[in-house]
Symmetry: C2
């Protein structure tokens, strides 16, 4: 499949000349999917265990994450183009707006995924239900909002 | 409150010299909270209606979003520092790792928020349950994963 071809009904835009802020890649995600062709269309909760590697600099920030069973991962879909306003997924009739899709193709190719945390190693998490390509850059890890309460304030 | 002071028990790191990718601000979020001091600790589903303004360039990408009642917003918490590995929220005893918190302070200050879509105007969405400061830069809009199915493929 040619992932980068523009299909009938799709609309491109020219991207702005400059970006407005920069992100750090804080690690990478190891999955059984070497290319986009092997990736499932959606991660399944009974899918294979994937390994989320966190760079050494950021590892102290994992403290306490082992207390959560579900975590939210943010990652950078580095192979996706960013300039489509409407898309016709997989040859479907009728294009939809990029913001009405969860396609990797979007102005800021940031994915959010809720995963089951099945293990914590020094510098890595073992999780289920990812659908991204092997080597995908990691942006963030957060406790799942459903199981998270902000710590109580001692300052009112 | 001094939001940028380092509290007892918190750990700083030096940030990398360069970022790895750039994001575009695609609009901004208008809320009733002019500064961080007025922001609620968590957005509530019965909170005030907020206005998500989308820049003209990206407006065609909203097509079809009106069919969803819940959307996920990604935004850039532009006032947050990025260099804390552990944090002691609001004077709590015992620091936790940044990735075990949903604090705005994180290497990539990207928030994810699920909101009720209560209206669509040309170039703007009206939503409930945001807790961010007025003027926060918008990064992305996606249909809520719970109500979203990837479009069927005609290519198998």
């Amino acid at each position: 499949m040619n992932w980068d071809a523009t299909r009938p009904g799709e609309t491109e835009t020219s991207l702005p000349d400059t970006t407005n802020a920069g992100v750090y890649f804080i690690g990478r995600i190891r999955t059984p999917y070497p290319t986009r062709n092997e990736c499932p269309r959606q991660g399944m909760s009974d899918g294979p265990i994937c390994r989320v590697e966190v760079d050494e600099r950021w590892r102290p920030a994992l403290k306490g994450l082992e207390n959560y069973r579900r975590v939210e991962l943010l990652y950078w879909m580095h192979q996706a183009r960013r300039d489509l306003l409407t898309q016709s997924p997989h040859g479907n009739k009728g294009a939809r707006g990029t913001f009405a899709l969860r396609s990797p193709v979007r102005p800021n190719p940031i994915a959010t995924s809720l995963v089951d945390l099945v293990g914590v190693e020094p510098g890595a998490l073992l999780v289920r239900s990812l659908d991204c390509v092997d080597g995908t850059p990691l942006l963030d890890i957060k406790p799942d909002r459903c199981s998270y309460s902000p710590p109580a304030s001692s300052e009112g």
